[in-house]
């Protein structure tokens, strides 16, 4: 076939040219994105407890059979109450672990007596994480008082879905992508009390370097939260700002 070979050559040349262009384009895109990436690190999903309304979607929408969202207790916000509104039903009959008194549907909150002081009995409430289903019943209960119980995505369970199914369903859009090293979003109040505690620990540490380091870590944890919130704020104002300019144009 004498006429086909120049045609084939032409095709081959065209293919080569297109391929080279594509390779250059891919490399360029990769370089551009890698440049972007240097500003950040792997992202994971987390919910902002200040935005949470305890609707229960975390328990039902997670792709895992038992949700990766669990309750945590920020002990520095906790009143260690005898009558815990996150632990007991509103209409409890006695302050015991009987079914009619407990709020948690899976019995995932452990109530532990700490001490009695000037007639008040103090209890510690910890979460039995494997039992917790993230339904948020205790969160709503605790919100009546101190709000120290709140939900968080536990990253040792979370599958890091590219699009979190709970985030899609969340009625207040409380889920955010956050840097993996940050791992949590603290309540603003928790951030303040933990920061203050860290500062206190650093101040009182004296020669105890271990304690000083722990305090510094706590303070850093709170500062990380603060930076993140600031960034969120400026990102949201930036987006509304850009809309503004678009309107003006």
């Amino acid at each position: 076939m004498p006429d086909s070979s120049p045609k084939k050559d032409r095709r081959g040349f065209l293919n080569d040219a297109l391929r080279t262009t594509s390779v250059i384009a891919l490399a360029g895109a990769g370089g551009f994105l890698a440049g972007r990436r240097s500003e950040g690190e792997p992202m994971v999903w987390q919910l902002d407890p200040d935005q949470c309304i305890g609707c229960g979607h975390c328990a039902t929408y997670c792709v895992l059979d038992v949700s990766a969202v669990k309750c945590v207790n920020c002990f520095d916000m906790c009143g260690f109450c005898d009558i815990c509104t996150g632990y007991f039903e509103m209409n409890y009959l006695a302050l015991d672990t009987a079914a009619e008194n407990q709020l948690c549907p899976t019995g995932a909150i452990v109530r532990q007596f700490i001490e009695e002081k000037s007639g008040q009995r103090f209890y510690e409430y910890t979460i039995d994480v494997p039992l917790c289903i993230g339904c948020g019943k205790c969160v709503i209960g605790c919100a009546l008082m101190n709000g120290s119980l709140y939900l968080q995505v536990e990253h040792d369970r979370c599958l890091d879905c590219n699009e979190c199914a709970i985030a899609v369903a969340c009625p207040t859009q409380a889920f955010h992508r956050i840097p993996a090293s940050q791992a949590e979003i603290l309540k603003r109040r928790a951030e303040a009390v933990l920061g203050a505690r860290g500062r206190r620990m650093m101040r009182d540490a004296g020669d105890d370097t271990q304690r000083y380091r722990e305090g510094a870590e706590l303070l850093e944890r709170a500062l990380t939260q603060r930076r993140w919130r600031q960034q969120q704020q400026s990102a949201s104002s930036a987006s509304s700002g850009s809309e503004g300019t678009a309107r003006d144009a």
Partner: protein, 624 residues
Amino acid sequence: MTRWEQYLLAFRCAAVSGIFVAVVGALLLVDYTQRVAEDPLNAPEYFELKQQLREDPNNEALIAEFRTLDERLRTAYFEQRRFSWWGSWLMFAGAILCVAMGKWAATLHRRLPHPEPMESPEDLQQNDHRTGRWAVAGFGGLVVLAVVGLYGLMPSSLPSDRQQLAAWIGSEAVSDMPRGMTTPALIDDLAATRPALPGPGAADGAVEAPKLPPPDADLPPLPSGFPSDEELQANWPRFRGWDGLGIVQDRLPSDWQIETGEGIRWKTEVPLPGNSSPILWNDRIFLTGADEQHREVFCFDASTGQLLWRQEVPSTPESTAEVPKLMEATGYAAPTPVTDGRRVYAIFANGDLAAFDFEGRVRWARSLGIPKNAYGHASSLAMYQDRLIVQFDQGIRDEELSRLFALDAATGQTIWEDVRDVPNSWSSPIVIHVDDQPQIITCADPWVMANSPADGSVLWRADNLRGDVGPSPVAVGHTVYAANEFPGVAAIRADGQGDVSQTHLLWEADLGAPDTASPLATEELVLLLASYGILTCYDATEGGDPLWELDFDASFTSSPTLVGDQILLLGEDGEVYVVEATAEEGRIVAENHLGEPCVTSPIVSDGRIIVRGKQHLICIEPNP
């Protein structure tokens, strides 16, 4: 076993396991629908029984019944979970078996090619392409149908763009708004639907910016020297009043309404955005505004609100070579200008610094270089006599880039500069007198520092701040109060020397610590305004636990101002609160609103409030 028998075996295995998978799948599905329909954790009988129990709490039988039910439901819940776990694994195993057997069967009984007589190659391609084209056309038709169907089936009663929204809000009944909001003022950018503003209004188009004077032009000389304390006290020459402490002997206007314009003297649109606060000298108000390209100083007539002039700050090629990286929330014009009654001095996010006379002519301009600042430069300017004080903190601590400058107000020449061992900060300096000795007090991480205005030497410093320091210091008598979100507020005696961290700290506290708003201190009380809406009051001499806390349904960036015995607070969404504070309690005595967001601190002078909102400069003054 023959090949055929093997095939039959494989095929039957595949079929059986396929049926098994289908059955398990169906069971799982049924179980799932049941689980959705009657979630044991939300079973109606549970709540019913609980209701009964509430009505009859001492019925032992009922309690027992409830416990049994509870146990049954909890068991049911865990059983369901176990069921679905086993079910999915069984299904998975069945599917693997089915696929493996099917594969085996297919391999054993591979369909061998049996080519049929071929059509001619030309017809083949032509026919294929012809039918292909029609099929693609049909596909396109389906897409069109789908689009039209979706468009038709999913209409929306909501407006699609801002023009429509404006018209829509006009036409919608006000009763539609559940919380009785008056509609037009709510959306700040729907200016078209607003009632006409009282006063001369925005008139920036009519104002001719004065031409930049040629460098060699003969400018009329300005009076030399510096203003007396009395002159300063009569005016509002800098951020937070004449001495930057946010305290003024004046009175607040009582009643006004932004919607109707009642009690609003004038309201003028500010041509460029900025977070800087206005300053006042006699009948002139100065303000700065900037975006990425432009940095301007505005002068308004205090009695009419008219924009008298606007003047761009001359930039150097270095200062405009790049746009400083900053947070949108800070903006390009966050620092408040300062005036000495002769010139007005302004600094911007890119480090451009300029002095204008009151007619808008540039007297001098220089650049301090683009600061390395995480949020954007925000420290306001201060003056001591004829010296302009610039706190210019940047970078990280080890870089030693931070400076405190004293510049000659007349020429802009540096008189002295102090290299500061601090990272970037956003706090503004104040000048106080301790035993008749002037001190410049500045805040940054970690030092609260006092410099001598004479030569810049560090008089004392205290290690009391951490993190991103935003609030400015205040002082009463010999005591300096410095606050930041971390670690809190510190009261420091200002008569020390060297590092006074251990020796001159009067008290410390951390509850209610502010992150942006500066504290307010009197002889008796220290008030902290946290951005999340809590005003915390401490005893000024003792510290200790807060005397009281007052809650607001607002966020705060603006610093509090004490006017007579009333405290003026401006919320981020334009809320206005007037608070009366005693050692016993804090009480909100009046509330109002500005009708637009506000992050700046106001001027209070002669019974007027002059404040910059997001778009407007507003003068509140009861009608004379």
